[in-house]
Symmetry: C2
Subunit: 159 residues, 2 copies
């Protein structure tokens, strides 16, 4: 089971966007991360479709976060890029074959499906308990206060 590689890029973009007040062109975000602008544009469009960032058109156009970073969770970003579907899909195996469970005895999910759903809930709850603001705070703790300010200045330069 593999998550889209775009999740790592999208999360890094959201964290650096906490450092700016003005829209940042996608090309500038791509340059910061040394990644193909086309590839990054795809992730930014996914974030935009999910309403997490929005794009401002025009000469000083680009992307900004749509909401305060404390209200955007890691789960929001993961679902925007990787999709909202659970990793495990029950295909109702129990209703197959010579000893099939009759459909009217299958009104509640199969115990196996329930165990998988519980694990999915635990994963989602963990992803939902961390916000982009939390991540930005941890970056500052790890890399030193002012790190994101420096990134913000770089992102806003040469405009």
């Amino acid at each position: 089971m593999k998550m889209s590689g775009g999740v790592e890029w999208a999360l890094h973009c959201c964290v650096v966007l906490t450092s700016v007040a003005e829209p940042v062109p996608a090309a500038r975000l791509a340059e910061l991360h040394d990644v193909s602008p086309t590839y990054l544009a795809k992730q930014l469009q996914a974030l935009s479709r999910a309403g997490l960032v929005h794009s401002v058109q025009g000469k000083s156009g680009g992307y900004v976060l749509s909401r305060p970073p404390a209200t955007i969770t890691v789960l929001d970003v993961v679902e925007a890029v990787d999709g909202p579907d659970p990793a495990f899909i029950c295909t109702e195996i129990r209703q197959r074959g010579p000893l099939a469970t009759p459909a009217d005895s299958c009104l509640t999910p199969c115990p196996i499906s329930r165990a998988m759903a519980a694990a999915e809930s635990a994963r989602r709850a963990a992803l939902n308990s961390v916000s982009i603001a939390d991540l930005a705070e941890q970056v500052e703790l790890n890399s030193g206060a002012g790190t994101l300010n420096g990134v913000g200045t770089w992102l806003g330069a040469d405009r």
Copy 2:
């Protein structure tokens, strides 16, 4: 992010194998589940490689669980079939580009990577808290006591 569809089959096989003392041919398990024997054989081989079932050769050969069902967890089966790798792989994006974090400041994982790892741990802990014996017990609760006994009798018939 999608888990291998084989996980559902493999878990169902493990649960029904709690109902037998004698080895069950792969073809009989495939018949019970009305699935292609080739496809099911692939899942049984993955379980076998992980040491969760073993195959007995010969006329009355087939598959049996290798360990008491209370000691086989859902996580064991998921990892056997879907692989042990975490869904999120950090590619050290922070070390790229003009503002790259120097490698010697990257001795601990990036905060983003830590958040993803915490979610993975929560998922794994949930999957590890349910055993094949627990699932068998819940099947009996759902479908009525004796359900798995009936499956065991069917699996052992016509041998």
